[in-house]
Amino acid sequence: MENLTLLNQISFWLFAIMMIGGALGVVFHKSIVYSALLLLVTFLSIAGLFVLLNAPFIAAAQILVYGVGLTIVLIFGIMLTGDKPFVDPVGQERPKRYWLIPGVIAFAFMGFLLWSLLSPNYNFTAVNGLFLERVQPSIAETLPGVQAIIADGGVTHIGLLLFSKYLLPFELASVLLLLAMIGAIILSKRQFPEEEAEGEPHVSQDLDGGAMEGKSCCSLNEGNGNLASENFDSEKETLGVH
């Protein structure tokens, strides 16, 4: 038992460091592709934390939905929008305030949250929660949630809840997924059959053809910003009005 606790602690720190490191990598790595891979690392570490938190089902779902599904979708997105422009142009630094102000805000926010959530005078167990650390293991094991986890990782319990107590949100989520799918199709499809007659509306640089290869788009952001602003002006004239 003692070894198991130790193992838990070691795993916690391992996952925590991996998670934070991965997250920092997502934010700070120059290449967007590496960012996506580091995001995968973060997701998997979070799945590990879920296991530690007695939520094996969520951990599995995390790996399946985030670790596999979402990361792949993101990588598809990266490929569709090209790789090169996403390395921040060398020698062309953004103004300081573009990272300074966010940094200040994020730090202040973190400080505020840490201060108010971890202030020693108050804690989450004061009201009616059952803070397991303080509960005798024998009592803890009588809790339905714990029993469900012990039995089959909580799968049955979660399934029953989803189809009873949370039936309505569940059904609504299915409608939501349907709508999101329709929306994603509408938004990302290049041309619908009924639009063939009118063709693509003329835009200064219609880059649909070159988008996959990620070639022609590079010229916009590489090198100096003047070129980009010129293009920008020409685009301005063709804005749709509605």
Binding site: N8, F12, I20, A23, V26, V27, S35, L39, T42, L49, L53, A55, F57, Q62, V65, Y66, L70, V73, P85, F86, D88, R94, I101, P102, I105, A106, F109, L113, L114, L117, L118, F124, T125, L130, F131, L132, E133, P144, G145, I149, G154, I158, L161, P169, A173, L176, L177, A180, A184, I185, L187, L207, A211, C217, L220, N221, A228, F232, E235, K236
Partner: protein
């Protein structure tokens, strides 16, 4: 320090949330920005599961909440990518600095 408890998790999620926040506020690439939103939502997920574990094990509603967040945020991310691609077709860039036609 070595006794892992609820507050470790809260501190962890707070840090993760803030990293995501910094990323959203500062990143220039729209896809990176979407990733950072996912980071923030993941922080919430850990929060919920941790609370479920440490505060109330009478049922697994916290875990179910996080399942819903999982589902919905995946939908949101895919819609976000679709929008980004639609915009990319017109602007041929994913640079957040250039998406400022609508202003004032």
């Amino acid at each position: 320090m070595f006794n892992i408890g609820l507050y470790h998790y809260i501190a962890l999620t707070t840090i993760l949330f803030s990293i995501g926040l910094y990323g959203v506020l500062s990143s220039r690439n729209a896809i990176r920005l979407l990733m950072c939103i996912e980071l923030m939502l993941n922080a919430v997920n850990i929060n919920l599961v941790a609370f479920n574990n440490y505060v109330n094990m009478n049922d697994l509603s916290g875990q179910i909440f996080s399942i819903f967040i999982l589902t919905v945020s995946a939908a949101e991310a895919s819609v976000g990518l679709a929008i980004l691609i639609a915009l990319y077709r017109r602007r041929s860039t994913a640079d957040m600095e250039r998406f400022n036609l609508l202003k004032w």
